[in-house]
């Protein structure tokens, strides 16, 4: 395994000061803001109470603009925008939607926008959105109007790559993990659940599968070209050829120059396994990553194995893993953490955060060595993003 021992880009200065957690839940959004030491937290919200909020994301290019993907049980999906760090919100004039098809044909309908990603640093105001069912959309006006990325949505292989409704997750098939290569705005990755990992070298005009070496145990051919279920894919900003993914079938790492996924979860304890949903990368160390394992045996309980929640960290690109459960329940802790519900800040040491479907937020100020519960009784948590808002 190739290990990154030398950083390939300038290591950014660690962040200092207040951290904000953008929390998306099944019943609205919340923002938790820390003090400078990250010891105390203040909760504001709910914003959009009663809306199903799948993701809230900050634009790192101005650190003021927030986008929020919402729908309710009754109404169609939409996107709300704030240009003042969440004080006021305005609805997108044209939310992500598939093109209308001619009468008599069956057209696709966006059920919800699931994932929001700001585009390249050189493209201010450009965003990408992933939807359920799998659709990729682009906005060039800071989220006010959205257009389909036809190169993916209408790709001749779309149906084969994405499969049918039965191939999706219980909440519906999704396009997620939209990744932009910081060296090249044309170079994009996406994750499809299901479908696998796909790559574009021309800003989305064409795509190809990127799943070599990745297991798909639920397929007749366990190593197909596509049809996989990546739960969460991450690219390291300092070493953009290094990709990690928490997959339905294990934890993987890829050196893009090699083009093959290597299962690094086999070094996890057998009693825990390497199934889970979220994955978080250390902002300054491409060899360091965290996962939150879940029980993926039998009927897939999707809870902490044995009722003993823990994060696991690797600091050597997956050659070994260490359990981190100090401060977490030692028994009867049946946590479920969704794929977007774990995040980190850029402090030194890094702060880690995860939210549970039972509405708790847990934080660690020391890279997972010690955990504290910083919020309880929130609704079912879908996503957490740790950000630094502009002053």
């Amino acid at each position: 395994m190739k290990q990154i021992t030398k950083q390939q880009a300038r290591i950014p200065k660690p962040m200092a000061g207040k951290v904000s957690l953008l929390v998306a839940t099944r019943k609205g959004a919340f923002i938790l803001k820390s003090d400078d030491t990250r010891r105390t937290w203040k909760t504001s919200g709910p914003f959009f109470l009663g809306h199903i909020v799948h993701h809230v994301m900050l634009d790192p290019r101005d650190r003021r603009t927030l986008l929020l993907a919402a729908r309710t049980g009754h109404l169609g999906p939409t996107v709300f925008r704030s240009i003042d760090k969440g004080k006021t919100w305005k609805e997108a004039r044209r939310p992500p939607a598939f093109p209308k098809v001619p009468e008599g044909q069956r057209g696709r309908v966006v059920d919800h926008t699931f994932w929001l990603t700001p585009a390249h640093a050189t493209e201010p105001g450009v965003w990408y959105a992933g939807t359920s069912p799998q659709g990729l959309f682009r906005s060039a006006d800071a989220g006010d109007t959205w257009a389909p990325v036809s190169g993916f949505n209408d790709h001749p292989m779309y149906t084969q790559w994405t499969g049918g409704e039965q191939d999706g997750t219980p909440d519906g098939p999704k396009l997620h993990s939209i990744l932009v290569d910081p060296r090249d705005a044309n170079h994009l990755y996406i994750g499809l659940s299901s479908g696998g990992v796909f790559e574009s070298l021309n800003r989305g005009r064409d795509w190809h599968p990127l799943n070599a070496g990745c297991l798909a145990l639920f397929r007749p051919d366990p190593y197909p070209e596509y049809g996989h279920d990546p739960h969460c894919v991450r690219l390291h900003p300092l070493a953009p050829d290094i990709l990690y993914q928490q997959n339905h079938c294990g934890i993987y790492r890829m050196d893009r120059t090699q083009g093959r996924w290597e299962r690094i979860g086999t070094r996890m304890p057998k009693s825990v396994g390497d199934i889970g949903f979220p994955m978080v990368l250390h902002p300054r160390d491409p060899d360091c990553a965290w996962v939150f394992p879940m029980d993926g045996t039998a009927v897939w309980p999707r809870t902490s194995p044995g009722g003993k929640p823990a994060t696991y960290v690797t600091r050597n690109a997956g050659r070994s893993w260490q359990r981190q459960d100090n401060g977490l329940p030692q028994t009867q802790g049946w946590f479920t953490v969704k794929r977007q519900a774990m995040s980190c800040d850029a402090h030194q040491p890094v702060g880690l955060y995860f939210g549970t479907t039972s509405g708790e937020i847990w934080a660690s100020r020391n890279e997972g060595d010690k955990w504290n519960c910083i919020a309880r009784h929130l609704p079912h948590i879908y996503a957490i993003e740790a950000v630094e808002l502009a002053k």
């Binding site: 309710t72 049980g73 009754h74 109404l75 169609g76 939409t78 609805e91 004039r93 939310p95 939607a97 598939f98 093109p99 209308k100 098809v101 057209g107 696709r108 309908v109 966006v110």
Partner: protein
Amino acid sequence: MKVLIPPALRDYTGGNSAVQATGITLADLFADLERRYPGILFRIVDEQGALRGHIRVFVNSDAVRAMHTPLRPKDEVMIVQALSGG
């Protein structure tokens, strides 16, 4: 004609529970609502032109779903959120 607006959509109508709009079909009426209250249409009708699954529409006392349902100026249209969720 009079259109009754459910609570979830009143952010679009300035809080009004009843508004006036015109149209000779349900599709026309919704298009007019969108002109008057931008954004309201996509919350109740999907991009393929169908009523969303949890929205019901009554013309006078008749439940309708077809967007080509004809309307008369004196009709009263009621938009309702179905009882769903959790």
